[in-house]
Amino acid sequence: RDDLATYCLMLADDALVASQRLAGWTTKAPELEEEVALANTALDLLGQARVLLARAGHLGAAEPFRHGPQDAEDVLAYFRDDRAFRNVTLVETDLGDFGQTIAWLLLLASWRLALMQRLTGSRDPVLAAVAGKAVKELTYHRDYAAQWVLRLGDGTELSHARMQAGLDAVWPFVEELFLAHPVEQRLVAAGVAVDPAALRADVDAVLDQVLPAARLTRPGRPAVGLVGGRGGRDGVHTEALGAVLAVMQSLARAHPEATW
């Protein structure tokens, strides 16, 4: 039960933090169509996060952080410190320019899509249902990102360089996506969770199709190291997450007794 709550937090935090990062593009996108598409992607991820946080809340995950009358989803989103967030560090990285954002989205959406596709077969019916809806959304996100990878990679000389630089910048965070946390390992054994290691082939297949068509090179940069063997799933994040949460949580924490 604790494991399941933690697993819900992992999947929720990935979506919540990614949504927060994407929402930072609002009013700054290169074209109105992108404004709409990025906001829509942020909204889809926020929706996934909310269902999963609510589920974690039902399993008791919000209680240690509760000081006021808020719903569990808000207690978990606004009153946990960064060390209690369980997201992979990829989602918390600064998104850089539009090229880097697109690289980030291609990797994130391909990986999460592969995860959610397998999760539709989970023995946990709630997770299976969440995954079913998420698959449709993530398929759209991945295809949107792939289209832009092609346009930027095979567009102008400048866009090619920036697209490659964006891919290089996010690459060190990819390896963590395939590491299994002990909680995941236990839930995989129980038929509830998905083994992250199994997702590598799916992500590779997307990259093998998209990168050559976009004239991009698969980066060779080393993965970021863990801190004493611990990473985002253990609450050991990059320095970026603290700053993201400082902004996100500021108003809610200024009024700990309020609901909105």
Partner: protein
């Protein structure tokens, strides 16, 4: 092909008949140059307002204090981008494209609603923008659903539907805050104090100072004068304020039994003039933000064009 003077006269008579009979002018129809220009100016200004209007609300997306409010706000700002898209499409039917209008906006050659030159200082401002600003926009825009120009009228039908949804969400947020803590209630009153007068200015200058109104009404682009709409807005809003439990910051505001309407105090037209001419609290910030987004996106738009051109050549090559 040139058109003789006789033909022009016939076309003009047709146009006048269509408009007078509440018919719709469509893109392929002949229309007077003044009508076309007036429409382009008005629709572009409306489109720009949707786009610039995303900024004051966007200011709170990252800090929205609950996930539900974050989702609502993000969806609303996304809708505004969508409204901008329809409206720029409507101007395209009149022969000007979005890129050209964006340049005019950025170069301060076309305006947007001056309400968006005020800052959003607390989260209650999000509710008040929904209630008062969207409320005023709806009063302005509902008659435009019957505008004589077809594409504009149809865009407005869709936009008005979404705007009233936004207005209800804004009011509901304020309801929640008024039922909340003292600090939340104070936040709402403070926001109302700051937005009330600017919302009255959204209807434009007093009728005596609005030279274009008569022609626009004759062309059925506009259907009511600025002052008529402003009065309708005040009369609609006063009972809502009462229901909410907030005070509108106008000591002269009272029901006039004789007129069956509310009397209200004088608008600070100097402040209005300042904001219109570019010296409002946020004019420079809003335009600089929009300009930066546009310039930072140039390489992306260039890449998309280059890619499309390559694809077209490839398809051609494959076909040949």
């Amino acid at each position: 092909m040139t058109v003789s003077e006789d033909q022009t006269r016939d076309l003009e008579a047709d146009f006048e008949r269509t408009v007078a009979a509440e018919g719709r002018v469509e893109p392929r129809d002949w229309m007077p140059e003044g009508y076309r220009k007036t429409l382009i100016r008005q629709i572009a200004q409306h489109a720009h307002s949707e786009i610039i209007g995303m900024q004051p609300e966007g200011n709170w997306i990252l800090r929205a204090p609950s996930l539900r409010r974050k989702a609502i706000l993000l969806a609303k700002v996304q809708d505004e981008a969508g409204h901008g898209l329809y409206l720029y499409s409507a101007t395209e039917t009149l022969g000007v494209d979005r890129a050209e209008l964006t340049e005019k906006l950025i170069d301060s050659k076309q305006k947007y609603s001056s309400i968006f030159n005020y800052p959003t200082l607390t989260f209650a401002d999000i509710g008040v923008i929904g209630w008062l600003v969207d409320g005023a926009a709806i009063v302005n825009q509902v008659p435009l659903c019957r505008s004589s120009y077809g594409p504009y009228a149809r865009a407005m039908v869709r936009i008005c539907k979404e705007e009233s949804f936004h207005q209800r969400q804004g009011y509901e947020l304020l309801r929640t805050l008024m039922d909340g803590t003292d600090a939340q209630r104070a936040m709402v009153q403070d926001a109302v104090d700051r937005w009330w007068w600017p919302s009255l200015m959204m209807f434009g200058p007093a009728d005596g100072d609005s030279p274009n109104t008569q022609q626009s009404m004759a062309w059925r682009i506009k259907r009511h004068t600025n002052d008529e709409l402003r009065q309708r807005y005040v009369d609609m809003t006063v009972p809502q304020a009462r229901a909410l439990g907030v005070t509108l910051p106008d000591p002269e505001l009272r029901w006039n039994e004789e007129r069956q309407a509310h009397d209200f105090g004088d608008i600070d037209w100097d402040e209005f003039a300042q904001v219109v001419k570019g010296a409002g609290p946020c004019n420079a910030q809003r335009l600089a933000h929009r300009r930066a987004a546009h310039e930072n996106g140039q390489w992306v738009r260039d890449a998309a064009s280059a890619y499309a051109a390559k694809q077209a050549r490839r398809t051609e090559g494959a076909a040949a």
